[in-house]
Amino acid sequence: MSLGAGEIPQARPVSKVVRDFSAVVVLALVALGAGLALNHFSSQQMPLVYQTPEQRLDAQLNSLISTPPFKVTPAATVGLPEFRAAVEAKNALILDARPSFFFQQGHVPGALNLARDNFAADYRALEPTLKTQLDRPVFVYCSGGACHDSKLVANALLSLGFANVSVYTGGWDEWSAQGLPVATGRAS
């Protein structure tokens, strides 16, 4: 078929699709470059090879003390009645292992934020308080039954010399669902 004067030749659908796929590949490469650049200038730079939360906590723990490779062993657990009694009696150290954003949105009254994802920095900030309470019962919680952060933090504390560390497995989900007192902000 010949084109008339002034007509612009239209690309065939197949060649359009091929061109579109090429454009998507270019978009993917640009996105990868942008992601790497953002990471390079980020204050919380990620390594290029993935590390599990356990490996990341192990690295943070090693910046505090020299320890054998970090291993998660089953920590003692407590339910709501025992945890609630400890909170009300104010005779235990309550630690919230969730990221600070969630801690500030709401936490158990009297709890301190020792976030798994910022363990070394949080530990250093709390060290003066924590070091005086090595023999007190310590309860660690995170979001709820499915979360892993409280177990990781509990094991890290055992490595750091705390003797009596338990995980409150119900976590924030159970505590808040029961309508129990909550505190907000950086620390209560």
């Binding site: 998507v24 978009l27 992601g35 790497l36 990471n39 993935y50 599990t52 994802d117 979360c147």
Partner: protein
């Protein structure tokens, strides 16, 4: 309103909705790539060497395709990118569900691991896949 105008209107509305969904998802992930990398790890599909690269590249890719969908000249490319991405999301989510995994897929930010939510997200991905395919097809012909 004639049929062509209605079709054009629907095409633009569809593109806007898909762009909004991907822009929201991209912004949510770009703020904490480390958490998103943990979500990807949970699917047990990729080797460690590729997980962080994907966690870094996917949010800008989603934001990029959302931008392309908003520009009439590049809408077709944005729609194709959305189609391919949602197709991969569907396959990965379905594979995790069939393997009995309970995960937080990290698709739209951090949440609690839940199989019910995984099914909902699979449904949303299927709707997105259908919409993106329609936008692409209508922009192509």
């Amino acid at each position: 309103m004639n049929r062509t105008t209605l079709e054009k209107g629907l095409l633009i509305a569809g593109s806007l909705v898909i762009a909004a969904v991907f822009a929201y998802a991209g912004f949510n992930k770009i703020t904490d790539p480390s958490d998103f990398a943990d979500n990807i790890f949970g699917f047990a599909i990729l080797p460690p060497a590729l997980i962080n690269l994907l966690a870094l590249a996917l949010p800008p890719f989603e934001l990029g395709l959302a931008t392309l969908l908003l520009i009439p000249y590049s809408r077709r490319i944005g729609a194709l990118a959305a189609m391919l991405l949602t197709l991969i999301f569907c396959a990965v989510l379905l594979s995790a569900l069939l393997r009995g995994l309970t995960l937080d897929c990290g698709c739209f930010g951090v949440g609690a691991p839940s199989r019910a939510r995984m099914w909902v997200e699979l449904g949303l991905d299927i709707v997105l896949l259908g919409s993106a395919s329609l936008v692409y097809w209508r922009s192509l012909v």
